[in-house]
């Protein structure tokens, strides 16, 4: 410790003492840590640094993706042909349903109009390529190749061909960060298809999900499929999320522990569809508006009158 700890003689200008510098930088990093975590007000700083880092990161990812591409190429004609056959077969299998789907959607819409029920929102979005998984071992995130330039905003849900993958949590100019549903901080409101029960499914961080706050005697079975309930105005209704794989019922606790596995290829590389943000939720019902209305007429006068009335 002897080398640099003691104060330098004044004629050697070496800047501030190491301990002072250490205190300064540590205070600065702790401040950054707290502000970023609690207030989320450093997105601009993060975006501008990302603009510097992003090209380097893409360069670093090139060898890996080249190897992937080469492997794909080597797999050759036969597999392609087989896959093509399977796809054609699948297309033929689903054709009757698909052909009628359009007609049924139109019919459904007309019926809903007749019933004066709000029309279902249509799912629209854009396809994005997953560039790489974020290196942070404490969370489950992937980076996709579309960002603010493509109009992506934080909060948009991402799905793949099987179900929900996650949600966009940060956007950068040319990329965006998708937090997977298996992340520990991620929650998705779901509905059990078989029983229609609503609940919320939480990520566990180890590739599994947990259905929480279900009573120990709840009507849940292994193999039940959970779909989004659409109550959060983030996810549209009806996308598959997870399948129940294990239930621990212990009468000592009031809640059952229900473990689920994601249906979508959540932790695999590939392409995702980033859905457009949902329409704003409908206005609040008129009765609460009426109640709030009499207070809002003359904001300057009302409180004084009330206080005067309460006084005696």
């Amino acid at each position: 410790m002897a080398g640099i700890d003691h104060a330098p003689p004044p004629f050697f200008k070496r800047g501030p003492a190491p301990l002072v510098l250490l205190t300064f930088y540590i205070a600065l990093s702790l401040a950054l840590f707290v502000v970023d975590l609690r207030f989320r007000s450093l997105e601009l700083v993060r975006q501008s640094i990302a603009l510097l880092v992003d090209p380097v990161q893409r360069v670093a990812q090139t060898p890996g993706s080249l190897v992937d591409y080469a492997l794909n190429y080597m797999q050759g004609m036969r597999q392609l042909q087989r896959e093509n056959d399977e796809l054609r077969h699948a297309k033929l299998n689903t054709a009757p349903d698909l052909l009628r789907l359009e007609k049924m959607e139109a019919e459904n819409e007309r019926l809903r109009k007749l019933l004066v029920v709000k029309e279902r929102e249509k799912a629209k979005g854009q396809v994005a390529q997953i560039l790489y998984t974020a290196r942070d071992p404490f969370s489950r995130k992937v980076i996709i190749d579309k960002g603010q330039q493509a109009g992506i905003v934080a909060g948009q849900p991402a799905i793949d061909e099987a179900g929900v993958v996650g949600q966009v949590t940060r956007t950068f100019p040319y990329s965006a960060e998708v937090t997977l549903i298996t992340d520990k901080d991620q929650a998705v409101p779901v509905q059990i298809v078989r029983s229609g029960q609503r609940s919320v499914v939480f990520g566990l961080g180890n590739g599994q999900l947990e259905l929480r706050y279900m009573p120990a005697n709840a009507d849940v079975e292994v193999g039940d499929v959970l779909v989004t309930s659409g109550l959060d105005s983030v996810y549209l209704q009806g996308f598959p999320v997870a399948k129940v794989v294990n239930i621990e019922r212990d009468s000592a606790y009031s809640f059952a522990r229900i473990f689920c596995a994601p249906i979508a290829g959540v932790e695999n590389f590939g392409e995702v569809m980033v859905l457009d943000p949902r329409l704003p939720p409908p206005p609040p019902p008129p009765e609460s508006k009426g109640r709030g209305g009499d207070g809002g007429d003359k904001p300057g006068l009302r409180p004084k009158k009330k206080r005067a009335a309460k006084g005696p």
Partner: protein
């Protein structure tokens, strides 16, 4: 400067651009897709530790802080996480440097291990305190690999500073 203080070989002075270049290469190595595998070391921490030991006048806590910021953004981690750990690493290795260079290289590697382990533990603690999930013991295997790599890293990073063995007798240095 010598490779270690006990050696009689005198090295050429380090070139600042080489320090810069080696840190950039370390960053690139950290961005590779292999970085997610368990046991792959944090290259930036290793190279930063190396230069803080050998050249603490040139590579100090300011560099550590900037590199930490870059790593935080690239990782998608919370800002300040790597900054804190790297600044601590730079300070500790700079204050160890006078003692460390008296030892042969294998023993240096052993002494660097606690520093690198501390870097990793500090980051894990910071995240666990605010509610992240435990990353698994593989996360703590990386510093052990990194301290083994201290030996080849010393060789490679000092390579541009070695002088040719046959010297011109008219120009001793």
């Amino acid at each position: 400067m010598q490779p270690t203080f006990t050696s009689s070989r005198i090295l050429l002075p380090v070139r600042p651009w080489f320090i810069f270049f080696s840190l950039i290469v370390a960053l690139l190595l950290n961005f590779l897709p292999t970085a997610n595998w368990p046991g792959v070391p944090d290259w930036v921490a290793l190279v930063l530790c190396f230069w803080s030991v050998r050249e603490f006048r040139r590579v100090g806590m300011g560099w550590a802080f900037v590199l930490g910021l870059l790593m935080d953004v690239a990782d998608g981690a919370v800002l300040g996480q790597h900054c804190f750990a790297y600044v601590l690493l730079a300070y500790l290795s700079a204050s160890l440097s006078r003692r460390l260079l008296w030892f042969p290289i294998a023993q240096q590697a052993l002494q660097v291990l606690p520093l690198l382990l501390l870097t990793q533990i500090v980051q894990a603690l910071m995240r666990l305190v605010v509610g992240a999930d435990f990353p698994g013991w593989g996360y703590f295997a990386a510093p052990f690999v990194a301290s083994l790599l201290w030996i080849p890293a010393t060789f490679i990073l000092l390579l541009p500073q070695y002088q040719p063995v046959e010297q011109n007798p008219d120009r001793p240095i």
